[in-house]
Subunit: 274 residues, 2 copies
């Protein structure tokens, strides 16, 4: 999916909502557990009930990997289902991959071709040759970690680089470097949502890049404030993720309707920014 | 596998050889391609022909993921085969994972329990909560990226941190921080093999940690020189990986014997350091 198509969908739905499919077999409602593929059954209902309000879905690959080959089959089924029934939806593999060139090519093949995602989240620690294979395919996107919203962001990303680099934090230098490898049509950044000053600062440095922002909901970011600092008038240029707040809004027969209400609530806040 | 057992196997075999199973279906000999599981058939012959000289095997997960669920089945089969037939072999999932705490727990579950590896390679960019879930299991190891041997190492790892941190490179500070989270009995580092001064320097800073050293062979490191700078008398405390040089030593009916000869050649060099 190209930038223009993604922005068009955002404008059409007045939404920048990304639903994170961190589907935990332990947490899905009891009545679905006898289904032959409970993870797919759950995801399908979540997708069908929230797609009116979302522009992107983001399976967290760890949750599928942990179930072995069955998990990968569930993943393949939900991606196929999304592509066939909701062709306007942007699909993100939340995989945080990062390895040398010939290995990165394999990961690109996996997520862009075997599983037909539009984009993959990536870790920048190994540098250009670990990212570049994800920038070669038409209308596919590398979504590279910039600043994350977890406590561990302080350990590496927030270290200061000293005078040679104008006392920048590591994440700032990393984002500048990564931005120079691709374009605003094939590179996005993961930008955490715990500190609004930082968000505003990052947006001012990268006015035209899409940001994937996790951490609204369970991870503690306030949606209005996050949008205030990052939303770009008309085009949006953010994808705001919510996972647990939507998936587990209820834990009974009504989980899909509860998820829909949560998604709608978020979209209503988002719509005021257009 | 605990530190004592691993060192015991190293001493017994006079070897620190790790065979990287970066098995590329395009590169395996033609006569194996009609096998119902060509990747497993190839790996099994490689393992059987090289296990006399190796102490560790390291499947590169990208190569299995790219084949979809079939690839994960092949991976599961070779790990089961290794555990049942070569219980002394140390098993490394070369996965370079790194994500927030609840997701890292899933990845640990995947590689430690679903697939029964002894260890996983990890990226440190997201900090402590992305590594810590891999340090909780008895006799399991987190193998964290320090300095890598690819060109892209210059982009992030080699940046200087300035005076506040004594002009350390990022990778040095990262390794110090990571070392403080675990012990020398559950933490190893990936240390690249392109610059021997750096290797010697890293060894002097981390005299008791195991290093996983890729890059001997196809990636250009010279084995003797690498061992000279990193091998610790008697215990070894390195695992030196070779992938393509062994796997694709020949491309015909004799590939397994050719792989055996390559592995033996490397082990003979290694044996002189004991």
């Amino acid at each position: 999916m190209n930038r223009q198509q993604l922005i068009h969908n955002i404008q059409k739905k007045k939404s920048v909502l990304c639903v994170g499919l961190d589907t935990d077999i332990q947490k899905i409602p009891a009545h679905l557990r006898d289904h032959e593929d409970p993870i797919f059954a759950f995801n399908k209902e979540i997708v069908d009930s929230t797609a009116d309000f979302a522009v992107a879905y983001k399976p967290n690959i760890a949750f599928y990997e942990a179930e072995g080959t069955k998990g990968w089959e569930s993943l393949h089924k939900i991606i196929t289902y999304l592509r066939e029934n909701y062709p306007d939806i942007f699909l993100i593999a939340d995989a945080k991959r990062g390895d040398i060139g010939n290995t990165a090519e394999r990961y690109a093949q996996t997520f862009y071709h075997t599983y037909q995602f539009h984009s993959v989240t990536l870790s920048p620690y190994m540098g250009k040759d670990s990212i570049e294979p994800f920038l070669r395919d038409q209308d596919k996107w590398a979504i590279v970690l910039g600043l994350t919203s977890n406590q561990g962001a302080l350990d590496v990303q927030m270290l200061s680089l000293g005078k040679t680099y104008n006392n920048q934090h590591i994440y700032q230098k990393v984002m500048q470097t990564v931005a120079s490898w691709g374009t605003t049509a094939n590179t996005m950044f993961v930008v955490g949502a715990t500190n609004s000053e930082q968000l505003a600062d990052i947006r001012s440095q990268f006015p035209e890049h899409f940001f994937l922002i996790p951490g609204v909901g369970a991870q503690g970011g306030d949606l209005n404030e996050v949008l205030h600092h990052t939303f770009v008038k008309n085009e949006g240029l953010v994808l705001i993720n919510s996972s647990r707040g939507i998936l587990y809004a209820a834990n009974d027969q009504n989980f899909a309707m509860a998820a829909r209400k949560e998604a709608q609530k978020l979209q209503e806040v988002m719509s005021t920014f257009f």
